[in-house]
């Protein structure tokens, strides 16, 4: 009797235990994907020796070349993919709850482009300071978020159609900004920039990786702390206000946190699209709409998704590589159409 009651509890609403269980399972999955991704590539690495080396062993039987591939090429790239996935997926979940729209996504809202313009301005004008990239990207993301929110908000609130149109306007406007800045660059750099714009995880540095992870940590923590408020806000701001949510404060906090996440991700890897759409959607399908689980599971699931997508991007036509954004868009765009049709 008590057992069926417990079971019904887990179906009806979310508990801390259920959330921890979901996170545990996803963490395991993420570890497997991380390991798998480290082994495959244009040159595949031996399983046991690599596992031994990753676990910190010294005499694992990897050649120095293999050692370099694992630790200098693949691992930083995989870690960056993971950080980018955390940032974009949780930012997407945050925007969706705040804008009351499951179709909201950093790339489609134009927020990624805002961050891209910020990054490019930093590269062109403050190229010698690496920290200027994430800072300017954050500023760009914040500005784009603000503009798209103001444009989307009509008298009846932000309808999905208005929001998507506002996103298109901001995106195209900023795209012309990007083209303009590109013309200021010399020809040799243009190709690498086009690649970067579609999401490029190859050119990371330790400090950039660290900044991305710190931003991811702060952003996810802030979103998670506001998750219960977001549960009410995603059902209507007025209702949320009536139930005790300080709507204005939560809105600003979540906008800033989501912009920080997008800024950090774009500064380190360009605009990887659709991650913020695909991952929260799958998470909601599997675990329900409670933002406490949506944000935590999106962080882990987002990391897994981008690592997987990047593994495909660098192996499918090896030794040549695709931008990771091309793979995520290939998966995300059809899902977007499906969601739009189903509404």
């Amino acid at each position: 009797m008590t057992e069926t009651r417990d079971l019904s509890l887990t179906i009806e609403h979310l508990t801390l235990r259920k959330t921890l269980f979901v996170c545990g399972v996803l963490l395991l999955l993420l570890a497997c994907i991380l390991l798998g991704s480290a082994l495959v590539g244009s040159q595949s690495l031996p399983f046991t020796s690599s596992l031994c080396a990753l676990a910190g062993g010294s005499n694992c039987g990897l050649s120095s070349e293999q050692q370099a591939i694992l630790f200098d090429l693949r691992l930083p790239r995989i870690l960056l993919a993971g950080a980018v996935g955390i940032c974009l997926a949780t930012a997407g979940a945050g925007y969706q709850a705040l804008l009351r729209n499951p179709l909201a996504e950093p790339y489609l809202l134009g927020v990624s482009n805002g961050a891209a313009v910020g990054t490019m301005v930093a590269l062109v004008f403050f190229g010698q300071h690496e920290w200027s990239r994430p800072v300017m990207a954050f500023g760009g993301a914040l500005a784009a978020t603000f503009v798209v929110y103001r444009l989307a908000r009509g008298r009846a609130g932000a309808t999905p159609e208005r929001l998507i149109l506002a996103g298109v306007i901001v995106t195209t406007f900023l795209s012309s900004g990007i083209v303009f800045i590109t013309t200021l660059m010399d020809a040799t750099r243009i190709r690498s920039f086009t690649f970067w714009l579609l999401g490029d995880l190859s050119g990371t540095t330790t400090s950039l990786l660290l900044i991305t992870f710190i931003a991811a940590g702060i952003g996810v923590a802030v979103l998670a702390l506001n998750a219960r408020s977001l549960n009410l806000m995603m059902l209507g701001e007025r209702d949320a206000f009536d139930l005790g949510v300080e709507v204005g404060r939560v809105r600003i906090t979540v906008f800033v946190a989501a912009s920080l996440l997008v800024g950090a991700s774009v500064a380190s890897s360009g605009s990887v699209g659709y991650v913020g759409l695909v991952v929260p959607h799958l998470v909601r399908l599997a675990f329900g709409s409670d933002n406490r689980v949506v944000i935590a599971a999106s962080a882990l699931g987002g990391a897994a998704f981008v690592i997987l997508a990047d593994t495909v991007a660098r192996t499918i036509i090896a030794p040549r590589e695709l931008p990771v954004g091309a793979i995520t868009a290939l998966i995300g765009a059809p899902l977007f159409v499906y969601l739009l049709k189903r509404r």
């Binding site: 019904s8 509890l9 009351r100 499951p102 219960r228 209507g236 009536d242 139930l243 300080e246 909601r284």
Partner: protein, 260 residues
């Protein structure tokens, strides 16, 4: 207890509510009726702190409403608005549990008491069997009951209801107001109902506030306020008022001039 003294509310230059006073007492249901644009909903939003009055004061348990935090107001005043459209799938249980938000204690997880209160309210509103269903799978009547259930889950002593029976059929209209009546009687709750349904107001309310153009035209028991003269003055429609043959409360029937 919630009191409004001479409150005036403006939207820019437009006067929406002009020095209206109102006192919501425990166990009493007060209905606000009046034509569209009379300031009924504005009055309700102002009483909840959603709008700032230009002048006058609102007292909640003898202290100014503005001296309370959003959270404390939500613990003491619950609002039942017309349902918003839900774009995310949430279960009835999750939805009603949202009413416990203002009572959150640490780490943002519901306590056993929150869950128990939610269960009680679901029983009270006869939604127990639907608790695992998704909100957008419910019928209009069931959904409005869930909206009421969420307000009841707050355990607030004051209920403000904004047209809670709009879009509901006869049986569901009565069911909603019967639940409000029961809550008022059992929990010393006071309720304010904004409605367009004069007969429903006559049947369920203890007091009626008649409003027009932001002004209070009359306040009193239903049989004092719902008179042909006052209703004609407010709605510009001739009405016939007689006593309901079964309940004895005033029964209002419009007399349309075009019909013979």
């Amino acid at each position: 207890m919630l009191e409004a003294h001479d409150i005036t509310v403006r939207y820019g230059a437009r006067l929406a509510v002009a020095s209206v006073s109102l006192k919501l007492e425990p166990r009493r249901i007060t209905a606000i009726i009046g034509p569209n644009g009379a300031g009924k909903s504005t009055m309700l939003r102002t009483l909840n702190g959603g709008l700032e009055p230009a002048s006058g004061k609102i007292l909640l348990d003898d202290h100014p409403l503005s001296s309370y935090s959003r959270r404390v107001i939500a613990q003491r005043i619950a609002v039942v608005a017309q349902e918003a459209d839900l774009r995310f799938p949430v279960t009835v249980f999750e939805f009603v549990l949202g009413g416990r938000y203002a009572w959150a204690a640490g780490w943002g997880w519901e306590t056993a008491r929150d869950v128990e209160t939610t269960r009680e309210v679901l029983r009270e509103t006869q939604l127990e069997e639907l608790s695992g269903r998704l909100m957008n799978e419910l019928s209009g009547g069931e959904r409005q009951r869930a909206v009421l259930a969420r307000a009841l889950a707050t355990e607030a002593g004051v209920l403000l209801l904004d047209e809670p029976t709009a879009n509901l059929d006869l049986a569901h209209q009565a069911a909603i107001l019967a639940l409000v009546r029961m809550r008022c009687d059992r929990h010393e709750t006071s309720a304010l109902v904004v409605t367009h349904d004069i007969n429903l107001a006559a049947e369920f309310s203890d007091h009626v506030l008649l409003m027009k153009d932001g002004k209070s035209i009359a306040f009193g028991r239903p049989d004092e306020v719902l008179t042909p003269e006052l209703l004609k003055a407010v709605f510009a429609v001739r009405v016939l008022v007689d006593a309901h043959p079964i309940t004895g409360v005033p029964r209002v029937t419009p007399v349309h001039e075009t019909v013979r």
